[in-house]
Symmetry: C2
Subunit: 129 residues, 2 copies
DNA sequence: TAGCATAATGATAACTGTTATCATTATCGT
DNA sequence: ACGATAATGATAACAGTTATCATTATGCTA
């Protein structure tokens, strides 16, 4: 049972304040810039604690982990290879099909992660220039 | 146009010989154990080269990248949190739904990765012991 | 409310997977 | 065979993350 300390509350507030997907480094920087005193190790531990309590969500990208607001209805992500923009989307049918596929293999699902890569509308236009 | 050197051929043969999902370290170890002389850097470059030519596929897991035989029909993965076992599965409908979702957001898809986490049949039984 | 066990903090060392460097060697087209 | 180009391998460097450890905060409990 992790404690919701002042530092963790600050992290949580920061993440809850927007739709952004934050990495640990961005979180420290934002908090320090806002006048808080917090170290990178504390941020890593805080993020892990908050996630374990279901207060925030995360996606594991190739290079780093990014955290976002908790969403009771699980959603997936589209990542733009051009600019890094992350778009969210949810699709009940996909979820259901996953469950069915797992069932067929004898798996008891605990979670999943679907990331789609491509170019967002803006970057597509720039490619054609 | 990368060259298919002796080292890269050895990597390719190793990966093609099974359904396993290899990380770079396992590849060097296997090749060295088999009497080959190859360095870790060469393996990393070889794996990247082979993948860029479509001769092998890869999945990016949280900690490391794993390589497997190329599969023209894209498949996704179920990873057992208990023992690390990786099961493959493919589902045309899921693929189609992803395309549709991307279209709706203005994304031009270039790829995707769906990883499901859970417990395989064997590990489920052990949990109940 | 004081005392105390437990957990969190923060600076930094350590670790892991991966990429860069660079001198040497192999490859391939002419 | 020559020469340009690319690959190799040992190792340094790098990025993200976790471990260590002395110090500080938290929140029971008496």
């Amino acid at each position: 049972m992790p404690k919701l300390t002042a530092q963790r509350q600050a992290i949580l507030d920061l993440i809850n304040a927007s739709n952004r997907h934050w990495d640990a480094d961005e979180v420290v920087r934002a908090l320090v810039d806002a006048g808080a005193s917090i170290g990178i190790a504390t941020v890593y531990r805080g993020l892990a604690a908050l996630e374990s309590q279901g207060l925030i969500d995360s996606i594991q990208l190739a290079d780093k982990k990014r955290y976002e607001r908790a969403d009771k209805a699980h959603h997936d992500h589209m990542v733009c290879t051009g600019c890094g923009h992350i778009e969210e989307f949810s699709h009940d049918t996909i979820e259901a099909l996953q469950e069915a596929a797992a069932e067929k293999k004898g798996f008891k699902l605990t979670g999943h992660q679907l990331v789609m890569f491509g170019f967002c509308r803006k970057c597509r236009q720039e490619l054609h220039t």
